[in-house]
Structure formats: C-alpha cells, structure tokens
C-alpha cells in the first residue's frame, strides 16, 4: 500500500481498540447508496520506477531551445543553491506558520523577504505573497477601493498598456463587487500613456490609476507625471512592476512627489523556474497608511517571554480566519515556498548582482532588436525607452511565423495580435541575461529565412 505503513497486525489491533470488525464499518454513517462507487476510470497504481520512466519521457518531449518569449514570465539563471535549500523538507513540508514557536525559520525568512521586497520597491511594507501577478492586481484594485475613503465610485483607470491577462483575471475577480475598469488608450506611436490623455477624467471620482512599468509592450511609462496626475485628482496609484527591472529603474515608492500607494506584480523573475506558468508568486507592497487594508499574511518582529527576538504572523484581524465575511480577502494558502526561493535568490544576488542581471537583460534586448531590425521585412514598432522587451513589426501576420519558428525549437516572442488585431504583425521579444550571441544569430537567421519567402 503506497505510503500507508500499517501491517496486518497493526490493523487488527487498531480495529479491536475501536471495537469494529472491519474498516468498512467505520463508514457506517454514510448512506449506503453513496458508498463505494467503484472507479473504473482510474488506472491501477504504478511504482515509483514506472512513473519515473513515464515522466522522464514526457519531460524530454517538452525540451526547447532558445527563448525570446517574455510577456509576463522570464527565463533567468537560477542559482543551484536556491532550490537545493528551498526543497529541504523543513521548508517544503511545513504548514503556514500559525504555531510561531515551531515556525521561526519560515517566519524569519518571510520577515527578511518583506524587508528585501520593500527595499526593492521603495515602499514601507510588504505582505508574504499572493497567488501570482494577475491575481495580485485584482487584490490591489480591491485594496485601493477600500483604502481610498474619499472615493465612492469604484472606478479604476487601466491603461491598455497593462498586461491583458492581468486585466482579464482582475475583471473575473473584482467583477461582482460594483467595481468598473475603464480603459485608458495609449499613444499608438510610442506604445505608452500620455498624461494629457488622462485629462478627460479630470475632476471625476476615480478610485485608482494602474501604471505598469515596464509596460506590456516593454516601454517605460512616464510614471512620475502619471502618479502626480492621479494623486492630484484624488486617485490612488497602483504600480505593476517587474522586480528585476527595479534594480535599475525608479521604484514605485519614488514615483512622483509622494510615491505610488500600492506596488504589486509577478515575483517569478526572482529565482522561480518558468514551469509552464506556475507556481509563481504575486508580491504586494504598500505605504504605511494602507497596511491594514492589505490582503494576505504579514509577519512582524517582536519579543518572547524572555525578551529574545522572535517573529510571528501579525495584523491577523484583516484575515478570513478571524474576520470571516469582513476580511480584506478570502486568501489563505498563498505561495510561501516560492517566496522562500525568491528570498534566497535575492540574498545571493544582492543589489549589485541584480543590477548586473538587469543590465544584461537590457543590453541583450538592445542587441537582439537592433539585429532583427536589420532583417528585410522587420521594423521596430514603438519609439522610446524600454527595459528588456520590445515590439518588432513583421511584414506579415506574426502568429504563423511564431508557430513556424517554434517548430524549429525557437520561441520567437509573443504574437501581440492575440489581444489586439491592430498588432497582428507584431511580436513582443525579450532577451534576458541567459541569451547568448549564438542564440541571437540562430533566431535572426531563422527569422530572415522565414521572411525570405513572399508573404
């Protein structure tokens, strides 16, 4: 019996103690027409050796070559120590640290994570994680509506330069609470939001403005001016940012005169493997005034009976297990192990290492896009500063080209036409620090080959 240690003698002894003659008698309170349905659709169990063979074959069939795809998930080097330590049983197989005295390892680690994340974002406080970047934006929207006491409208301004998958998730999650997301159109030439565009909302009751930096097209938004406009108009600012980029870009806490109110995003770039989209983790930081409106776990430092430093979950009166229908969110289990990995990753890199990684991402993307722009049938789409993603425009629909290059083992970027027909010829490309010159050569050659035939 896999993973069940009972011997026949154990079973006999235990049944005798309980005073029944069979295990089935323990189910005698279940209505008899419900018991033992039989499970014809489930195969017989297999041994570890057999499932290992199957999984090895499956994993081998999924291997791919160079990756120029980003669009919300990024291939970075993950130091070996990160997952060696993270998968230690003491982290891997522990529960949420409710029993603080028996969870000081996880609790101190989360406190360190909160410190690093607050520092990276330039914000006052961080929670211990949400599910992912998309659902983190949804939670940030709900939080902003709670925190902005002056606003009654539930109206949120969301530029069309915010990751469309994040917008979809947000719509699903906040849709039943009287909140509306209003689209702000970006400048078609620059692929970024002009502050002037916001003037149509001047003087209206807006709960919050979302600003993604770098934005969905990889472009840098005028975060300073946008933040000042929003806060002048009584709206809170929700920053959606890439954590790697924050090593070199102005962090949300320093946007405009007062800084953003909430910063959130996808933590995956910090030591989490791509693994088909998860598990990753959502991060969320805020300014001090909003801490009590933040969803999720928060760890605080305190002292024990003998005055020694210790760590514990705090401000739990925000959470579902205490407040039930008045909680800030229904979130319970979050993405703790991913935060463990990210904390180890950030410790290994430090500000210095992360800055180098970020710098190489930017330089490789510059190199890649300059190279691609030299190919006949390829041009650069949006003008202006970028971080590690850029839009290139082909002379034909991008989707078939993407599929064709994938069949050659090259992930050629993200076809933007999936979300906007006007961008059907556009590919969002990305080159992180893991991309080599040889990879770029291979991509450029394959692309010029694909475009050599008449469209």
């Amino acid at each position: 019996m896999p993973f069940i240690p009972h011997t026949d003698e154990d079973i006999r002894r235990m049944l005798a103690e309980v005073g029944v003659d069979s295990i089935n008698s323990l189910f005698d309170e279940v209505p008899s027409d419900l018991i033992d349905p039989g499970l014809p659709g489930i195969p017989e169990g297999v041994s570890e050796m057999e499932i290992t063979r199957e999984m090895n074959e499956r994993a081998a069939s999924d291997m791919l070559g160079p990756c120029f795809l980003g669009a919300g998930a990024y291939r970075h080097h993950v130091p070996a120590a990160v997952w060696e330590i993270t998968t230690r049983g003491e982290y891997y197989s522990a529960y949420t640290p409710y029993q603080a005295e028996a969870s000081q390892g996880t609790l101190q680690l989360i406190y360190e994570y909160q410190s690093m994340m607050s520092g990276l974002m330039g914000m006052d406080a961080s929670n211990a994680s949400l599910y992912d970047g998309g659902s983190a934006l949804a939670e940030a929207v709900l939080m902003a509506v709670r925190a902005n006491r002056k606003s009654k409208s539930g109206r949120i301004l969301v530029p069309d330069t915010v990751n469309p998958m994040y917008c979809d998730a947000t719509r699903t999650i906040v849709g039943n609470q009287g909140i509306t997301l209003e689209t702000v159109a970006s400048n078609a030439e620059t692929g970024a939001v002009d502050v002037e565009t916001l003037e149509q909302w001047e003087g209206e009751d807006i709960a919050a403005l979302v600003i993604q930096q770098p934005n969905w097209f990889g472009r840098l938004e005028e975060a300073q001016a946008l933040t000042d406009w929003a806060q002048r108009n009584g709206a809170l600012v929700i920053a959606v940012v890439n954590p790697t980029a924050m090593a070199v870009l102005t962090p949300p806490g320093e946007w405009g005169e007062n800084g953003a109110d909430i910063a959130c995003g996808e933590g995956q770039p910090l030591g989490i493997p791509l693994s088909s989209g998860g598990p990753y983790f959502g991060f969320m930081c805020c300014r001090k005034a909003h801490v009590r409106q933040m969803p999720g776990r928060i760890v605080g430092r305190t002292v024990d009976l003998e005055g020694r430093t210790g760590y514990t979950l705090t401000l739990q009166a925000r959470e579902q297990h205490i407040r039930r229908n008045k909680a800030t969110s229904n979130i319970c289990t979050n993405q703790g192990l991913m935060v463990t990995a990210a904390t180890i990753y950030l410790s290994l890199l430090g500000a210095e290492g992360l800055e180098r990684v970020a710098g190489h991402c930017h330089a490789n993307t510059r190199k890649l896009t300059e190279r691609l722009a030299g190919i006949k049938g390829v041009s650069l789409r949006f003008d202006g500063p970028y971080f590690h993603e850029r839009v290139v425009e082909l002379d034909r629909p991008a989707e078939p080209v993407f599929q064709q290059l994938a069949s050659q083992g090259i992930l050629a970027g993200y076809p933007l036409g999936r979300h906007d027909k006007r961008l059907s010829n556009a590919l969002l490309v990305c080159a992180t620090e893991t991309v080599t010159d040889a990879d770029i050569d291979r991509f450029a050659d394959a692309l010029s080959h694909a475009l050599a035939k008449a469209a």
Partner: protein
C-alpha cells in the same frame, strides 16, 4: 538553539555571490536618467556560503512533516512523496515557457489532462478545471460560477449564500467577494446541519449553500441528500468545500451526494507540499448545470493532441483567475501522486486516514479526554474539547498546543471550528504509524499530569523551541515589518 542573525546583519559592503551574476556591468546609457533608480535598494551583501548556511540554519527552526508528527486538523499534513517533487522538477518541465505553443508541451499537457480525468472520476463530477491556485480560489471560482448560472437565467433575486457556523473562514469571505450576503446556520447537537434552521433559511433569495462533508466538526453529514433536494427545490445550488476529501476519497463522491461544484485542495488530499504557506492548487469539479461557466484555461483533447481551452471554447466562462494556467508544477506533483496510488490506493487513503482517526479518538477517550461527538464515528479527523481541563486545571487548549511542541508534536488545530469551546481538531492522516499515534496519546496524558502538578509550568510552555511564547500584542501595536538598518 542560538538566535540566527538577520541576513542583513551578516553582510559587508561590496560582498555578493560573484558566481551568480555577470562579471561586468552592462551599458544602460540609453535609458534616460529620469527613469533610472538613484539609490540602490538595501539588500543583503553576503557570500554564497553565508546564504546557504543562514537558510539551512533557519530551516532547522521549523517543524515539518519530514521532521515531526503534524496532526493539524483540516490541513491533511501527510507525507509528501519525494518522487513527486523530483519528477515535477525535471528540466523539460521547469524550462517550459507558459506561452510556448501547445504542440511543444504535449508531455506536460498530457499529465494535466489525465489528472483532470482522474479527479473528475474520483469526485463524480462532469469536468475538472485545474486553474484555481488554492482552495480559496477554487471556492471563488465555484461561487462565481453559481452567480453566473443565476445571472444567465435572469434569476437575479438570489442574494444569499448559506454557510454553516462551523465553516472555514474562507467560505464566508468568498461569498462576499462574489457579491453575496452570508446567511449563517447553526450546527445541531449531533454534529450535522440543523435541518429546521436550514429549512427556514432556504428560499427564493438563496443562491446556494457551501458545505464541507465530512464537515469541519469531523463527522459525515448524514442528511446530505435531503439537504441537496431541499436547496435544489428552492432553486439554489450546492458548493462542496473539498478540504476534507481525504476522508472519503474513492469511497464516496461529492457528485453523487448532489453537489453542483466542488474544489479539491490538491495540497491536502493529493499530498502536494504546503511549503510553509503554499503554493497549493484548488482544482474545481463541475457538475452538469455549471459546465458552461467553467473557468479558463482548461486542458482539452482532440485526436490525441492536448491543448488549452480558452474563451473560444467556453464562451460563457467566468474567465481567467490568474495570468497563466494555474500552479502547473503543483499539478504535476499531484499527477505523480495520483498515478502511484491508482484506483485502489485512492480508496485506501480514505480507509486508513479514517482508521487512524478513529483509533486515536478511541485511545484519547479511554484516557479520559472529552471527545466532542462521542456517539459519532470520526471521519479522518475529530475534535476533543479541553473545557474540563481549562476549568479544573486552569490550562487551556492553547496551553496544551504549546506544550505539545516541546514534546516534539506539532499542535493540532486549536480553536477551530469556533463553536466548540477549548477545542483541538486532530487529523492524524493515513501515513502515520500506530506507534506515532500512541506516542501522541502519551504526550497528551503527560501534559495533563504536568498540569495537575504545576499548571504554571504548562502555561509557560514551550521551553525547548527556538523562542518562548511571543508578544503578539507588541507585534501588532508596534509594527516592525522590515529591517530598518543597523540602528534598529
């Protein structure tokens, strides 16, 4: 155990793990100064060895399944097989980009598809979506689907979700996130739902009911079919909180009980790790009525080719719940586990978790502890109330919990469900040996003896942990949520 410094305090300016970053700085001159960070973030400045040693030492301050018996009720802390981890972390799975075409992910998508099929079969539901990231997100998806169902029928007077008073906090919190009012109903003295109160609560305003079965008081809801009929006849739907599925896996199916939508905590029943607070996976099973509203993406199959089904395939979907397809790596772990168990193994999970719980309950009762529902069978968990000990000896459930840590046992869930005074909710799981269960009984007896001799001693526990009891009031009042530099 000695105190471990914060990682920040171990650092020296200019130190970092040099093997882990490019040797040179890249040229960033083309990013205008107005977009550039002015001052570096405060981060640890430590070597690779310092990092490895620090986080290894911190790990040693945790209790975990791998090191301790962990009978945390409602949480199903059973052995997390190591093969599930190592096979989910094969390079072909880890390196796959979520936007890579389906054609290049057949190995991965095939696992997910098979997992969906197995979960649908073992729960008796029509289809399964693996999109939700944890139990609470599964609840959200399920209740949002209930809402979409009523909305699609133009049935918009349904404003309430019924929730038993014993329910987990995520249930009422979820109902509110979906725009519903919560109507709480009491639990009867026999542990089942109070039928008279339910009858009173159900009406044209009822959108649905959220139930856990076996319930959070650790017994099987015997009148479940009656409840299903009652709610359905009133036009409401039934949501099944699958946190306790371990108790009935393969023995009884929520679909057969009459539930319209369910979630399964794969990080409980399918033994994926809790990771000190996630990641989990809250797969949902969907019945006939709610099929059109299934969340996206879901894995489909067409002529042996697996693909992500999207809004095109499910136009009335409630939508997506995250940027990608769910906690894929967790799902791979659950798949490996499900395959190793197979048909018979799944049923055995229910049988042996139930055997262990009933044995432990019987033993504790024999030692004089007050079982909360002594006339009932335990499911995979049960409640003891330490009200008597609190009154006679002056030691509470919380005191027992803390002293158990000293004796090497993780505490059971304390003070949940809310309706039982001084309760411990105890879930031993099927992967523990009878000797470990006996050891736990002995520990409980020892603590009671200690309390008889010196209650202050028990109230002062724990003594053998890295810290003694913590000042939680100070933690909440004088918020210290991050390192502020050496001065602090």
């Amino acid at each position: 155990m000695s105190q471990e410094s914060l990682i920040f305090d171990l650092g020296r300016s200019g130190r970092y793990a040099r093997a882990q970053a490019p040797a040179e700085h890249a040229d960033l001159a083309d990013i205008p100064a107005e977009f550039r960070r002015k001052q570096r973030a405060v981060m640890p400045e430590v070597s690779e060895l310092q990092v490895v040693r620090h986080y290894t030492r911190l790990s040693q301050k945790n209790f975990s399944i791998d090191t301790n018996f962990y009978p945390l009720g409602s949480c199903t802390m059973k052995y997390n097989p190591r093969a599930c981890n190592s096979l989910a972390m094969l390079p072909g799975f880890l390196d796959r980009h979520p936007h890579a075409p389906d054609s290049t992910g057949q190995g991965f998508l095939g696992c997910l598809y098979n997992l969906q099929e197995m979960l649908a079969e073992v729960t008796g539901m029509k289809t399964v979506s693996l999109a939700p990231m944890a139990g609470a997100q599964g609840e959200f998806a399920g209740v949002a689907m209930i809402r979409a169902y009523h909305d699609a029928r133009g049935d918009d007077g349904r404003t309430e979700i019924i929730v038993p008073d014993a329910a987990h906090g995520t249930n009422p919190a979820t109902a509110v996130m979906c725009g519903y009012k919560v109507r709480e109903i009491p639990t009867a003295a026999d542990g089942d739902v109070d039928m008279a109160a339910l009858q009173e609560a159900v009406g044209p305003q009822t959108a649905g009911i959220m139930l856990t079965n076996p319930s959070t008081v650790g017994v099987f809801e015997r009148r479940i079919q009656e409840i299903a009929t009652l709610v359905h006849e009133a036009g409401g739907l039934l949501y099944y909180d699958g946190a306790n599925l371990n108790a009935i896996l393969g023995k009884v199916r929520p679909g057969d009980m009459g539930f319209d939508v369910i979630h399964i905590n794969l990080h409980k029943t399918f033994s994926t790790p809790h990771g000190g607070g996630g990641p989990g996976a809250g797969a949902i099973g969907v019945g006939e009525r709610l099929l059109p509203h299934t969340p996206i993406p879901q894995v489909g199959e067409d002529n042996g080719q697996y693909y992500w089904r999207t809004e095109k395939d499910i136009p009335q979907t409630i939508g997506r719940l995250s940027a990608f397809g769910g906690n894929a790596g967790v799902l791979l772990r659950a798949y490996v586990y499900a395959r190793m168990l197979g048909r018979e193994g799944m049923t055995r999970v229910a049988e042996y978790s139930t055997l262990n719980a009933n044995y432990l309950m019987t033993r504790l009762k024999a030692e004089g502890f007050q079982v909360w529902l002594p006339e009932r069978r335990a499911s995979h968990e049960f409640i003891i109330s330490l009200k008597g000990e609190a009154k006679e000896l002056g030691v509470t459930a919380g005191d027992f919990a803390k002293r158990l840590l000293d004796l090497g046992y993780h505490a059971p869930t304390a003070y949940f469900p809310l309706l039982v005074p001084e309760c411990l909710l105890i879930e031993p799981t099927e992967t523990e040996t009878v000797d470990d269960l006996d050891g736990f009984v002995q520990a409980m007896v020892t603590i009671r003896e200690e309390a008889r001799h010196d209650k202050e001693f028990v109230k002062g526990a724990p003594y053998n942990m890295p810290v003694r009891r913590l000042d939680e009031v100070k933690a909440a009042k004088e918020l210290d949520l991050k390192w502020q530099g050496e001065a602090s």
